[in-house]
Each structure stands twice: as structure tokens, then as C-alpha cells.
């Protein structure tokens, strides 16, 4: 019958298109365990939650060659999170020395010889963007591209105002999706 034939065509189209997702590769951050990224060029979205506001999340990256890395920090677009502005710092050798105000805002002392790019996420008005795979809106810190010489770095993420709430970070340029990672923690990413 025509109706069943049409159903088959639509199902096939949806199955084909559903298998061809492209987006950031997701992951979950734990304040007790640094998150290690093997290939920082792969586009990633890492999610975490400040339970008390005292946590410091660390992401470790290594670049085998000089790299221009786009980076963005975002918070769910909810009324209760309007004051939730986590900050981040990229820490490593060959990076500039932060200003006195930025040094004072860091959650811990810089290693000897290390510099840092620091973003205290004080942008106003706060940019908002729509993420089409989870169909959510987020407040953004704005996208900044950092030129990083080859070497090892740490990303520090903390809440200067000790606010609690979820957050995410996005970085990288090359799209690749791990279906299992996305589905295993779907509830954390989507709600």
C-alpha cells in the first residue's frame, strides 16, 4: 500500500541521516580527577557541575605542534544561573604572565616558570547561543582563539563567586562524534 511504502521511505531517510551526526565529542569533568585529552584538535564539549562552588576542574592537553585553539565556556540559559560565571585559565610554559588582578583571581598558584591566559568571564551583555543537537540555549563566555606553542598545558576552571551550577567548555576544530559517549551521559548533557 502507498501509506506503508511512504513509511518505509521516511524511516530509511531518518535512519540514514541520524547516522551522520556531526558535533563536538562529549565528556564529563570530575574535580577530583584531571581530564586528559589525547588529541586537542578534535572538537570537544566537556561538561561539569559546581556542587559547592569551591571546586577546581582541570583539563590536561598536549600539542605536538603549534596550534590555534578556539575555546569557549558556557552555562545553561536558565534564570537561576544568570549569576553563574565560571572562569578559566590556560596554564603552561611560554605563555604570558597574567596581570596582578588575574593572578589574584586564580584558584591556586601558577607553577614556577609558567604563564597563563586568564578569562574571568565578565563579558556584558552575555552572549547566548543555541546548541542544535541537545536543542538547548547557553550563556557563553565568547569564543577566543589562543595561539599555543607545542607543549603541555592545563586548563583550570573555577567559580570566582563560589556559585554552583552546571557548565560546559568547547574547544577544538575537527568534528568527530562518539555515539556511545553521547548516549551514556545523555541526561547530564541534555537537561
Amino acid at each position: 500500500m502507498l501509506s506503508f511504502r511512504l513509511a518505509g521511505v521516511v524511516v530509511c531517510l531518518l535512519i540514514i541521516f541520524a547516522g551522520l551526526l556531526w558535533s563536538h565529542s562529549p565528556g564529563l569533568l570530575d574535580p577530583d580527577h584531571p581530564f586528559h585529552v589525547d588529541d586537542a584538535a578534535i572538537s570537544r564539549a566537556l561538561y561539569g557541575e559546581f556542587q559547592t562552588g569551591e571546586e577546581v576542574f582541570i583539563v590536561e592537553l598536549t600539542f605536538k605542534e603549534d596550534f590555534a585553539l578556539p575555546f569557549e565556556l558556557f552555562v545553561p540559559h536558565r534564570n537561576e544561573l544568570k549569576g553563574h560565571r565560571p572562569a578559566y585559565a590556560i596554564v603552561g610554559n611560554n605563555l604570558p604572565v597574567p596581570s596582578i588582578a588575574q593572578l589574584a583571581a586564580l584558584p591556586k598558584l601558577l607553577p614556577i616558570g609558567a604563564g597563563a591566559y586568564v578569562d574571568l568571564n565578565e563579558i556584558n551583555p552575555r552572549p547566548v547561543f543555541y546548541e542544535s543537537f541537545t536543542r538547548r540555549f547557553f550563556y557563553s563566555s565568547g569564543v577566543t582563539a589562543y595561539v599555543l606553542p607545542k607543549g603541555s598545558y592545563e586548563f583550570w576552571l573555577w567559580s570566582p563567586q563560589k556559585t554552583s551550577g552546571k557548565f560546559g567548555i568547547g574547544f577544538g576544530v575537527e568534528e568527530r562524534v562518539e555515539w556511545r559517549d553521547a548516549l551514556n551521559n545523555w541526561g547530564f548533557y541534555a537537561y
Binding site: 502507498l2 501509506s3 511512504l6 513509511a7 521516511v10 524511516v11 531517510l13 531518518l14 541521516f17 541520524a18 551522520l20 551526526l21 556531526w22 558535533s23 584538535a41 596550534f67 590555534a68 545553561p76 540559559h77 536558565r78 551583555p125 552575555r126 552572549p127 547566548v128 547561543f129 543555541y130 542544535s132 543537537f133 541537545t134 536543542r135 538547548r136 540555549f137 576544530v173 575537527e174 568534528e175 568527530r176 541534555a190 537537561y191
Partner: protein, 196 residues
């Protein structure tokens, strides 16, 4: 600096190419094909050897449903309405569907409007029916402090309908959709409706 993928599979299925060569022509093909479904059904039902409905009143062909919907991708809840028009002179369960709604989410206000086709089948004594449907849907997600999101979707749905009284029925729906206009991405929907 951006690395070029050396993987031929990923190079072919690059998002911009998919959108330009598959999604947009595919959407147009689907819309054009969809237009011809009622025409073919009308032609089929116009044959002299088919027993036609005894009444052709617009009111008898039009059905209305109201209920609650929850979207699982892009969390939101709220009322959804359906206008179903029986396009078959044989009462074979072929319906055109117009479905507006307004839903509340913790991050946005969600306004969908769907236009599609639904087929009721496996009718068990006018008490229990299964159905499936497909169509297109506009989805608007509105916020006040930034740019709202607008997407055009292809959806497919199925469900079951249970007659409570001769005039009222309860239905449960499950659907999936995929954005073909605007930002890409899949969605999952559940819906419970009271229909009469």
C-alpha cells in the same frame, strides 16, 4: 590552523556538503512527493466500484485533539492541539494533520506547528487503533535575551488510540524528527492526547 581530514569517508560526509547535496534536495523531494499523496488517494477513491461515505459533511471529516506533549531533546512541556481532516471518502483512516502547540522549557518557550499525514490502521472493532504519520514541522524556540532558534523538521510518528466513548478517544504518540532547515540535529517527542 585547521587540519584537513585525510579520511575519505569523513571528507565526503562533511556537514556543508551533506546540507547542500542531500538535506536540501531531500527536503524538497519530500515536500513535493507529499503534495501528491492526497491526489493519488482521491484518484483511487473516485473509482465507481468503491463504496463511498454516505455523508460528505466537513464536520464529519474534521477531528480535533488536545493534549500534553513533552519533548525529550530540548526539554519542554505544554499543550498541543491537532486538527485532523479525513481525506478518504472510504473512511480508511487517511488524515491530514495540522498541529500547533506552545510549550514551556527551563531555557526557552517552544512553539511548534506541524503539517503532515497520518494513517490509522489495524482497527480492532473501533475500540483500539494503531497509527503512523509523517510530515514537516516548524519549530521555534524563543528567548528574550538573545537570538531565537528556528528550524524546519521532517518527523515520523506512531502511536495507539483507545476509544473511551463513541465520541472521545485517548491516544499516545511517539515521534522522532530531524532538522533539515536551520541548525541540524535529531529530536524525540512523547505526547498524550484526548481526541474527539
Amino acid at each position: 590552523m585547521k587540519r584537513k581530514s585525510k579520511d575519505w569517508f569523513r571528507r565526503i560526509f562533511y556537514p556543508e556538503a551533506l546540507s547542500r547535496y542531500i538535506f536540501r534536495p531531500g527536503t524538497l523531494f519530500f515536500l513535493v512527493a507529499f503534495v501528491f499523496i492526497p491526489a493519488s488517494l482521491y484518484a483511487q477513491n473516485s473509482r465507481d466500484d468503491i463504496q463511498h461515505r454516505t455523508s460528505d459533511e466537513f464536520g464529519e471529516r474534521l477531528h480535533f485533539a488536545a493534549g500534553a506533549e513533552m519533548t525529550l531533546v530540548g526539554l519542554s512541556y505544554g499543550p498541543r492541539f491537532e486538527f485532523l481532516y479525513d481525506i478518504s471518502s472510504q473512511r480508511s483512516g487517511q488524515m491530514l494533520r495540522l498541529a500547533p502547540g506552545i510549550l514551556y522549557g527551563p531555557e526557552f518557550i517552544y512553539v511548534p506547528v506541524a503539517l503532515g499525514y497520518r494513517n490509522y490502521f489495524l482497527n480492532h472493532g473501533d475500540i483500539f487503533q494503531l497509527f503512523w504519520g509523517a510530515g514537516v514541522e516548524y519549530q521555534g524556540r524563543y528567548i528574550t535575551d538573545g537570538e531565537s532558534a528556528h528550524q524546519g523538521m521532517i518527523y515520523i510518528e506512531d502511536g495507539a488510540l483507545l476509544s473511551l466513548t463513541p465520541g472521545f478517544a485517548l491516544s499516545i504518540h511517539f515521534g522522532v524528527d530531524w532538522a533539515v532547515l536551520g541548525p541540524p540535529g535529531p529530536g524525540v517527542i512523547t505526547r498524550v492526547m484526548l481526541q474527539w
